[in-house]
């Protein structure tokens, strides 16, 4: 290069592309169900395709499970429960979980790239959030496996048997980890159904399970859509159900579970209020609001989708917020500098588009930064609605996309009233420098998780879950272990 060509443009924040390499990932043409330690095709031979939502490129064909396939998986799980897994000591079970956690760490780049390819989320999130938390969940529950007597002192606990688990597409691997780790630590065996748009990391996890020599049948993975999930829910051989997903499906599952009187954990939708007081650390509050609603494109059940800001700073706060949103980098999810990735599926994009159109039609003021959307793939720009009334659809329905509504309040009482005025009750956020106000608010907010001066923070030791139509039962901590155990009377328990 001649010296004269080397004088660069001044440095600016329009960074050069910094794509993560996809060479670490080897995607097969097709994937079967993972049953009894082997990958097997559907009995019907049916498959469906999974695509990269950022490019609409085909990634792989995946087996489409029927009731018969679910039946095979449940039978394998039952055999493993009656067989090796059920006989195993807690410390042995813990050993497997520790191995899985370490494998996730070692192969984290591979998992992160695959998660981003299949789901559209920015690589920096799959790399810095999904993978570390997935491993952390296994590490945490591995530690409990041989300590159940201490976790529930003076009670004799036993696993339920076969757990049926259905996970969503927003955090595919992480949600699988949240469900598998406590179930296995408690001594259950599992049939897991990943979401149909994002099955690939769960299937790569199956690879890990084989590598760590987990006995066949302890974890079985059946892929498919709603029909497959319904077959799992209705299968009489399932002793315990856990579901994360939409409130509508959750209600159907609750009906089925209650008819069979089996225990159930539901982690459903949300419409969280993010409450910002005048005396907050304003810049950090702006940042919290931005990550609260735009991380993972707003595909987060606990997303802070309703901003409630104290009237005295509302205009200034929205101005700061819009300025910050204008610096969000939307585009190639594999680029390490991308902040906002692709919408997970064409269906979800349609739902977001329709709800935003409803918001405009009902009279709310739409704000979007002028960012270019890629030509191919499913994309939606970060969106803010001001002039929103409590009765507006966009303030009431879960959008599950990068859409924030802004409302104001004058007193803390009014903030609480507006925050609680929703059928959901999963999470809420508070920003104020006044500790007593945080405690007062946290007591009155009807939400399973209340974050103060932070948002979307997770830890395996901390229980997570909702009230009202956001579901019941908790994941994380001892609260998340308990639903996978039942109390036995009389006989001394085996296991621990």
């Amino acid at each position: 290069m001649a010296p004269s060509d080397k004088t660069p443009e001044p440095f600016g924040i329009d960074y050069a592309p910094a794509p993560e390499s996809t060479a670490v990932v080897d995607i097969a043409d097709g994937y079967g169900h993972f049953i009894n330690g082997d990958f097997v095709e559907s009995l019907s031979g049916a498959t469906f395709a999974t695509v990269n939502p950022a490019t609409e490129e085909h990634l792989a064909y995946v087996a489409d499970g029927s009731a018969e396939d679910v039946d095979r998986a449940v039978a394998a799980a039952r055999a493993a429960f009656e067989g090796p897994w059920g006989q195993m000591s807690g410390s042995q079970r813990g050993k497997y979980l520790f191995r899985i956690a370490r494998q996730l760490q070692e192969r984290s780049r591979e998992f992160a790239v695959l998660e981003t390819l299949d789901g559209g989320k920015p690589i920096k999130e799959s790399r810095d959030l999904d993978l570390p938390l997935s491993a952390a969940w296994f590490f945490y529950y591995a530690g409990w496996a041989d300590k159940l007597e201490y976790a529930f002192p003076n009670r004799t606990m036993a696993p339920h048997g076969v757990a049926g688990q259905i996970v969503p597409w927003n955090f595919p691997l992480m949600m699988a980890a949240w469900k598998l780790a406590p179930a296995l630590a408690a001594g259950n065996t599992v049939v897991l159904k990943p979401a149909e748009t994002t099955p690939l990391t769960a299937l790569l996890l199956a690879d890990v399970l084989r590598d760590v020599d987990l006995p066949p049948g302890v974890v079985n993975i059946v892929t498919g859509a709603g029909v497959t999930g319904a077959a799992l829910v209705d299968h009489p051989g399932v002793d315990k159900l856990a579901f994360t997903g939409s409130t509508g499906v959750g209600k159907a599952i609750q009906r089925a579970a209650s008819a069979r009187r089996i225990p159930l954990t539901l982690e459903l939708g949300g419409k969280a209020a993010h409450i910002v007081f005048e005396d907050s650390a304003v810049d950090q509050a702006v940042e919290g609001v931005v990550t609260g609603i735009y991380s993972n494109q707003g595909h987060v059940c606990c997303a802070g989708s309703r901003l409630l800001v104290e009237e005295s700073i509302a205009d200034e706060f929205v101005e700061r917020l819009m300025r910050r949103i204008s610096t969000l980098r939307l585009g190639d999810p594999l680029d390490k500098n991308t902040d906002v990735g692709a919408i997970n599926s064409a269906d979800q994009l349609q739902r977001i588009t329709d709800l935003v159109a409803t918001g405009v039609a009902e009279g709310a003021d739409l704000h979007q930064p002028g960012c270019d959307l890629p030509d191919k793939g499913y994309w939606f720009p970060p969106t803010v609605f001001t002039g929103v009334q409590q009765s507006h659809t966009v303030a009431r329905e879960e959008i599950f996309g990068p859409v924030l509504t802004v409302q104001t309040f004058r007193t803390a009482e009014e903030a609480v009233e507006k925050a609680n005025n929703t059928p959901y009750g999963l999470s809420a956020g508070i920003w104020t420098e006044k500790g007593s106000k945080i405690l007062w608010m946290a007591e009155k907010l009807r939400a399973g998780v209340v974050w103060a001066n932070t948002y979307n923070r997770f830890d395996p030791a901390s229980p997570f879950g909702g009230y009202k139509e956001s579901g019941f039962g908790r994941e994380g901590g001892l609260h998340g272990l308990a639903p996978y155990l039942r109390e036995r009377t009389g006989a001394k328990g085996r296991g621990a």
Binding site: M1, P3, S4, K6, T7, P8, E9, P10, F11, G12, I13, D14, Y15, A16, P17, A18, K124, D128, D279, S280, A281, V282, D283, Q284, E287, G288, T327, K336, N337, E433, K434, N453, T454
Partner: protein
């Protein structure tokens, strides 16, 4: 602390307000910005911009006219083998060395900055500090770096801290005034935010993190905190104030993450020597080695850049 004082800018207008700072969230945001991946053309641009914003500094009791002359030569032509490498923004020296620096840099575009006002502690009588500034300006320093009166500021005598900066600004005349907050001695991000507003309201052309004489200095969250204060001040008054990070900046990666933080907080327009400086002595050589690596594909080593 929630009760934040308001300061009256000497340039007129209403009082400027400060906002509280949440330390955990501030550090999390800075850490997130430090994951920005700066590659290829962006890396070369960042390295050049870093050089253009450097205040190449020597502030030792052992400084001599010869050492200053050598430093100035380096400032003007950081890499004699590569004419595309730009000059740094300024050299920064003690008042005694100003004339030697002026002599060596006249006509080159490299400015001469002098510390003054009883640097680095500032613990001298106000008249002595002003005389020190007047002396440095008289010797030809176009930029004056003074320290905030931490003793007054921390004891709550904000009026005195403010007025002394205003007096220093008067003493500077046409020279630019940089006010060093010595962030490592202020105890909290809240205090730094407040001191930033105070210094800007008192007339600082630049606010600067540190003297480089104490260990805790120009960290990334601190630069973010001060950049946000500068943005707030510009929003409230329309006055543009520059930012200088100094102390502990030794590697190119640290430097370009400072550029990222300032660029994403204040905009790319702030990434010029008129508005952003990095005070450093050893940073420049690391940047030169990084540039050589971009050209040749391998690291050369410290013997292939000059030690001045």
């Amino acid at each position: 602390m929630t009760a934040s004082p308001a300061f009256l800018p000497t340039t007129g207008g209403g009082p400027v307000r400060t906002t509280p700072v949440d330390a955990v969230a501030l550090e999390a945001r800075a850490a997130a910005l430090c994951t920005r991946s700066i590659k290829t053309t962006s890396k070369r641009a960042a390295l050049h911009t870093t050089i253009r914003c450097i205040d190449l500094t020597t502030l030792e009791g052992t400084d001599t006219p010869g050492k200053v002359a050598s430093l100035c030569q380096k400032a003007i032509k950081p890499d004699p083998s590569d004419p595309t490498v730009p000059s740094v923004a300024a050299v920064c020296v003690y008042p005694e060395m100003v004339e030697h620096a002026v002599e060596a840099t006249t006509g080159t575009g490299v400015a001469v900055a002098s510390v003054a006002g009883a640097f680095p502690a500032g613990m001298s009588a106000p008249a002595v500090r002003v005389a020190d500034i007047v002396d440095a300006v008289g010797r030809g320093a176009g930029e004056i770096d003074i320290v905030l009166n931490r003793s007054a500021f921390l004891s709550g005598d904000l009026g005195r801290a403010h007025d002394e900066i205003a007096a220093a600004k008067d003493a500077c005349g046409a020279s630019h005034l940089k006010v060093i907050l010595e962030t490592g001695e202020l105890g909290s991000y809240d205090q730094v935010r407040r001191a930033s507003m105070l210094a800007m309201a008192a007339g600082a052309d630049f606010i600067k993190t540190s003297t480089g004489k104490i260990p805790k200095a120009a960290t990334h969250p601190m630069i973010l905190n001060m950049a946000e204060a500068i943005r707030d001040y510009a929003d409230q008054t329309g006055v543009v104030v520059g930012l200088k990070g100094a102390g502990g900046i030794r590697t190119s990666k640290q430097a370009w993450h400072h550029l990222v933080i300032v660029g994403e907080t204040l905009g790319s327009a702030w990434l010029t020597p008129e508005r952003f400086r990095l005070g450093a002595s050893s940073l420049l050589n690391d940047v030169l080695m990084q540039l050589q690596k971009l050209d040749t594909g391998r690291y050369s080593g410290p013997d292939y850049v000059t030690v001045d």
